[in-house]
Amino acid sequence: MRLEILALTLLLTVPLAAQQATSADVAKTVSPRQALQSAETLFSQGHRFTAEELESLKALHDDLVTSGDTDLAADLDLMKLGAIVQTTTNDDKAQAKVALGKDTLLWDQRQRQLREEGFWRTVRDVGLATFTISTVATLLLATVNDRNQALLQRGNFSDYDARNTFNNGMNWAMAGTASAAFISLFPLLWGEARQ
């Protein structure tokens, strides 16, 4: 494998050097087509191209275009894209392996946040239902109590004590529903703020 990488580097870099060399013999050693073939062979073996090698492929692309092999240059582009995809995926996997613990924490945090949003919405809904029911009950009881109080003052009841005890009970009931409305405000406001 090492030999192949060496061969590729040589094959890819020699044409570049050949462009600058004065001797025409050097240029003849490796043609762009041969270099492309070598690159494709490495690609077929799943070789991970380094940044330097990818840069050499860019030079090879220019060589192929110059020599009129535009279709081969297009193939080279495609091969380069495939090699980049393969390398990036492998790198991403290696990186994900290293950062798995941290990523798991982030994922769990996001899950918790999603769950909490749902939880606080339920808290808000329960608070709202309790608040509405107890407020309406408080107002109804207040109306009834006012009426009872007025009737009691006018002396409409023969058994005053029994009626008075009933009225006291209704007053306590109203105090209870008013307290429930007050207490339900907390889950209502907490739920509203944390959604």
Partner: protein, 359 residues
Amino acid sequence: MNRILTIILSFLVSLSFASGQSPAPAKPSVFIDSEPLGARINLDGHLLIDRTPALLRGLSPGKHTVSVWKEDFIQVTQSFQTTEGQVPVVLLDLPPDSVVLAFPENGQVVDAQGSHPTTSQQFRYPTGTYALSDQGGSIRLAPVFPDEGLLTIAQVSLLAVAGAAVLSSVSDAYHATNGWIDHASQLTIGLWISTLFDLPWYQSLVTRKARFIKDAAAIATARPARLEIPQPIFDAADEALQSGQLANAEVLFSQLVREHPNSSLVPGAWFRLARIHSITGRRDLALGEYRLVAETYPQAAYYDRARQALANLYETAGDRTQALTNLDLMVLTDGFFDKADIDAQRARHLVAKEAPVAP
């Protein structure tokens, strides 16, 4: 002598396949795929290093839950059942958490953040409900607060309770003046308390709406010269391939893999490119592309076909070990291949591998 040995070996290998000594039934596997590709996978509460598409092997039989998530998309969760010998395909469509809009026919867009010129601009808005009204030169886009109904109820109830409290207080004052009562009625007290309680709830809803409006701010970017979606490119390329226009198909498939790298059509495009290169004699290029489909994009529709193509290419090149490895890695789930055929091919390679080479 060699021929006799080959026949005996062939017979023994075939016998071992027939008697069920072929690779023991593998543990259940599953293909996890998503649109778009490249989503993170969480299987049964464990985050994996693989991204979609992925072929997960060695699962325990039974029910599993998979969640996939990608940045800028909404997480999707699905359960699936695995049994030995079956390879289910879990395909998850991730809905985007935002939408990109352009208004080429309107000069201005008016949203919750104000007025913006639309020339050569596109706007990314969070996914949600918007009220849209076209006013000729400008277009109005108002995000609809999900609890708008509740806010209206809170507003109306606050006004009603406060109004009733005022009226009840006036009534109490009138009755007290006439000497009918000597203290505030319970109803008046109850109404004022309710008003007092309603206020913070209403205020919290208003605060949440303000937060929602702030979060619904659009991100403006330059509008691209043209917008292309991958499906028509894929269809055109496939049509060219069917009609034998390989060069044209190659150009279109190349365009697709280059311009839409996250589309779920990409594995199919790479597979077809590999086929084209295989037909046109670009063996190494085809080999690399088939490897890409099998290893980087293991999508249910192409995985086995890519592995089999790799096996054939390696067989042609005389590399029986690689050919056998690729045949062993096939999951035989898409109904495209007959298990008996693949087993026969595998047996042939084993025989050829184990047969002594003639001097």
